[in-house]
């Protein structure tokens, strides 16, 4: 959690803790303590579970409904061999004992005594066993209810977790969708230009030898300008082959009547409706690679070609924008759209540039060409209306170091320190 919005030496622990808790909530949803989960399970269970199926106060109800168990005192008797002849009066006991042989003459009492003795013992054993069983059953009941109660708590916890995970999945899905859209826009932008090689293009001031892989990314404020429209004064010389720093190669028709495609792609007078329609078109397109394959665009995805290089560079820029997302802060759709638009424009411009290099080569003038190799970006940004001085410097004095774009600021650099 390296990025705190604390920018002064006076640390406020309360604020930092709030930020940390906010981050935790963002990452993991609400972080409930054990006690809170129990409270939720006991009180607000109906919000997470079907209240008809489970009762949140099961254990309490059970304890109220179940009084403490005491085994009942079952009636029983003790029967030993002398039980029949016992008496608390000693003379009677003596008489009975005296008459015992006479009794045994009449019948044998021993089986009767044994049977009653066994029955008495059986009664005792059964009573004890029943008491044990009952106690065990009640203990098991207690355990079952404990189990059910714990299940309720765990189900509540799981419900909360599922809710949090759903939120995360939604968040990730929306990000994925956005990234896919952005990737399609990028790929489509490159392919879009390369699939129309025969269409006339707006004239450029000076086609240069492109060095796309060595070029730093364009300045953001320049990317936000409408797409390149050649300045009128430079169209006056429809020379098929021209020095790269002086005039551009373009058919005269392109000068006087730019193709609708080029106009729609970002002329300065473009309205907001056109722009949004174009965006919708891009979003609607499928992957650019597949389109290129189907359409068989010449040089559209050739390895090492300018278009491919432009794509690589654009992807790098998109990665840089991706890194902006990595801070976990909520994204602004408009910001990303604008950034994607910039990158796309750059890609289109580079694709245009690549296409222009396929045209008849300009007459090389060694020192000038060398200067353009060192300042390749000048050509791309020079015609933009927002940078007239750069235009002048590139067309008149292309080796001017002031025309080189400053190193782009890393958008991922969010460290407050």
């Amino acid at each position: 959690m390296p990025d705190f919005n604390v920018r002064s030496d006076s640390v406020n622990v309360e604020q930092i803790m709030e930020q940390i808790r906010g981050r935790i909530r963002e990452k993991r949803g609400v972080d409930y303590t054990e006690q809170q989960i129990r409270e939720l399970a006991a009180v607000k269970l109906e919000k997470f579970l079907d209240p008809r199926g489970v009762r949140s106060d099961l254990l309490d109800q059970f304890r109220k409904a179940q009084p403490a168990y005491e085994p009942p005192e079952l009636p029983n008797f003790a029967f030993e061999d002398a039980t029949l002849f016992e008496s608390h009066r000693a003379p009677i006991r003596w008489i009975r004992k005296l008459l015992m042989p006479l009794l045994k003459l009449l019948f044998n009492p021993n089986p009767l005594i044994q049977a009653l003795n066994i029955q008495s013992r059986l009664n005792t054993i059964n009573a004890e066993r029943d008491a044990r069983r009952e106690a065990a059953r009640r203990q098991m009941d207690q355990l079952y209810y404990e189990l059910v109660h714990n299940l309720v708590v765990e189900t509540t916890r799981t419900g909360i977790e599922v809710k949090n995970l759903k939120m995360r999945v939604e968040s990730i899905a929306s990000r994925l969708e956005f990234n896919e859209r952005r990737a399609r826009a990028l790929e489509g932008a490159v392919v879009y230009r390369s699939t129309e090689p025969d269409e006339p293009r707006p004239q450029r001031p000076a086609p240069q030898i492109p060095q796309p892989r060595q070029q730093p990314p364009p300045r953001p404020q320049q990317q936000q300008q409408p797409r390149y429209t050649p300045p009128q004064p430079s169209y006056t010389a429809p020379v098929p082959v021209a020095p790269p720093t002086q005039t551009a190669i373009a058919p005269p028709a392109a000068v006087t009547e730019p193709p609708p495609q080029a106009q729609g792609a970002g002329v300065p007078g473009e309205g907001p409706g056109q722009r949004s329609r174009r965006r919708r078109r891009r979003r609607g397109r499928r992957g650019g690679g597949a389109a290129a394959t189907i359409m068989g665009a010449p040089g559209s995805a050739q390895p090492g070609s300018t278009g491919a290089a432009g794509t690589v560079e654009s992807v790098d820029q998109m990665d840089a924008i991706d890194r902006m997302d990595d801070d976990g802060s909520p994204d602004s759709e408009e910001m990303h759209d604008a950034a994607a638009e910039q990158v796309e424009q750059t890609g289109i411009a580079e694709a245009d540039h690549a296409a222009s290099t396929a045209e008849p080569p300009a007459v090389d003038q060694a020192p000038v060409e060398h200067a353009h190799v060192e300042q390749p970006r000048v050509e791309l940004v020079a015609p933009l209306p927002a940078a007239p001085s750069a235009t002048e410097s590139s067309s008149v004095a292309p080796a001017e170091p002031a025309a080189a774009p400053p190193p782009a600021r890393d958008p991922a650099d969010h460290d407050p320190q």
């Binding site: 959690m1 705190f4 030496d9 640390v11 930092i16 803790m17 808790r21 935790i24 993991r28 407050p416």
Partner: protein, 429 residues
């Protein structure tokens, strides 16, 4: 000025919080007056067995007078009486029986105070919860100054201590939270009191690299210093740190210093070094990225203060009011209550060097402003000066009579504790 420091046990090798506190205070006040320590012959706080000879000896230049303990603690009896007074309706007699069972019961020490109290200007009693403080404060007849070292546990809910808090001349609190708690339980706002705490002799230039080399510790680490015990929150610390280890972003190891009563989890990023001397301990804290203090119950936490003195941030258990309050007041530490907060705060300290550095700097300043020895000594001397100009009170309520001791009308201590206000005392105490 002659001062008696009365404490349950005393010695160079005794490292318990209140006892160490008493020794530091005695040694520093000895520079400003005549100090004598009155204590028992015990060294073990569980048995209170007489292990040292009674009589007078010198410890770091301070005379120490020891008295025999009448009987050792019987853990069974003490446990039974604790259950009684902490959990059930009971009487004053039950609480006095509990106090006697807790120990160290030393009537000889109380007799000495009764006879010689007039020899001292003030008697400083450390730890309100023991026999010597309850009876000794009465025996000292208006000369008693209490250093309660009270924690938020059930003992504070016992009724016998409320007159003690109201009857002493002054109270030297360790933290604003402790003061608020004692005020709430005893209603003793009229008793002069000041939040003082304790200083520490932290070395100026601890050799962090030497510690790393000696114990072969590489990479960033957080350190815990103290007894490794469930009561100190170490079990929860192990659980939370296990959760932190599962986070791939975290790179900190955990170094544990102190004797252990718990099994240490086996993991290559958890090291237990055992008990270390002060030099190694301070070097370990200086080498660490942060100190973790997971204890639920602290009246001050000297270790946290030492970490701050060394410019290290502290990650404390937010369930301990005192630690949380210290972190908020100092702006020098973060705190956690859940696993998520533990991981979040630890990663914040680990990954944001600016934050860790700022917390450490704040901690150093906080220690310097509040816990440096000149500040501590000045607070004690100012209190002595203040009391000199005040008329001593009656010295507390009389001991309860026969009927009062047997009336079963005192609530369970845990119920009293539950009603006390919670939370840190605020930024300015």
């Amino acid at each position: 000025m002659k001062i008696a420091v009365v404490v349950q046990r005393y010695g160079q090798a005794i490292n318990g919080g209140a006892e160490l506190h008493a020794r530091y205070i005695a040694e520093h006040l000895a520079r400003h007056g005549q100090v004598e320590v009155l204590t028992t012959c015990s060294t073990d706080y569980v048995t209170w067995r007489n292990e040292l000879e009674p009589g007078v000896e010198q410890v770091n230049g301070v005379p120490v007078r020891r008295f025999k303990v009448k009987h050792e603690r019987d853990p069974l009896v003490f446990g039974k009486r604790s259950d009684r007074v902490f959990e059930q309706l009971h009487s004053l007699g039950d609480e006095l029986d509990w106090l006697d069972a807790e120990g160290p019961t030393s009537p000889a020490l109380i007799d000495y105070i009764t006879k010689h109290a007039s020899d001292y200007d003030y008697c400083l009693f450390f730890s309100y919860r023991y026999y010597h403080a309850y009876y000794g404060a009465r025996a000292s007849r208006g000369r008693a100054i209490l250093v309660p070292t009270a924690e938020r546990d059930e003992t504070i809910g016992l009724s016998i201590f409320q007159p003690l808090f109201r009857g002493v001349r002054a109270i030297m609190y360790n933290s604003p939270e402790e003061r608020a708690m004692i005020h709430a339980v005893a209603g003793n706002e009229s008793v002069p009191g000041v939040v003082v705490g304790i200083g520490s002799d932290v070395p100026n230039n601890p050799q962090a690299a030497r510690f790393r080399q000696k114990y072969n510790i590489r990479g960033p680490f957080a350190v815990y210093v103290g007894r490794i015990d469930q009561n100190k929150g170490c079990k929860e610390l192990f659980e939370f740190f296990d959760g932190y280890l599962k986070d791939p972003a975290g790179k900190l190891s955990l170094v544990l210093i102190g004797n252990t009563l718990l099994p240490i989890p086996e993991h290559k990023r958890i090291r237990h070094l055992g008990f270390l001397d002060d030099t190694d301990k301070f070097e370990a804290m200086a080498a660490a990225d942060a100190l973790i203090m997971p204890s639920y119950y602290e009246s001050l936490s000297m270790v946290a203060l030492e970490a701050w003195a060394l410019g290290r941030p502290v990650l404390a258990n937010g369930k301990c009011d005192v630690l949380k309050g210290q972190c908020l007041r100092s702006n020098a530490g973060l705190f956690y209550e859940t696993l998520g907060e533990f991981i979040g705060t630890l990663e914040a300290i680990e990954q944001n060097r600016w934050l860790a550095g700022s917390l450490g700097r704040n901690g150093r300043q906080y220690f310097k402003d509040n816990y440096d020895w000149p500040v501590i000594e000045r607070k004690y001397l100012d209190m002595f000066e203040r009391l000199k100009n005040e008329v001593p009170g009656p010295g507390g309520d009389p001991l309860p009579g026969w009927f009062d001791r047997r009336r079963q009308d005192l609530p369970a201590a845990q119920d009293v504790l539950a009603k006390l206000p919670k939370g840190p005392a605020g930024r300015h105490g």
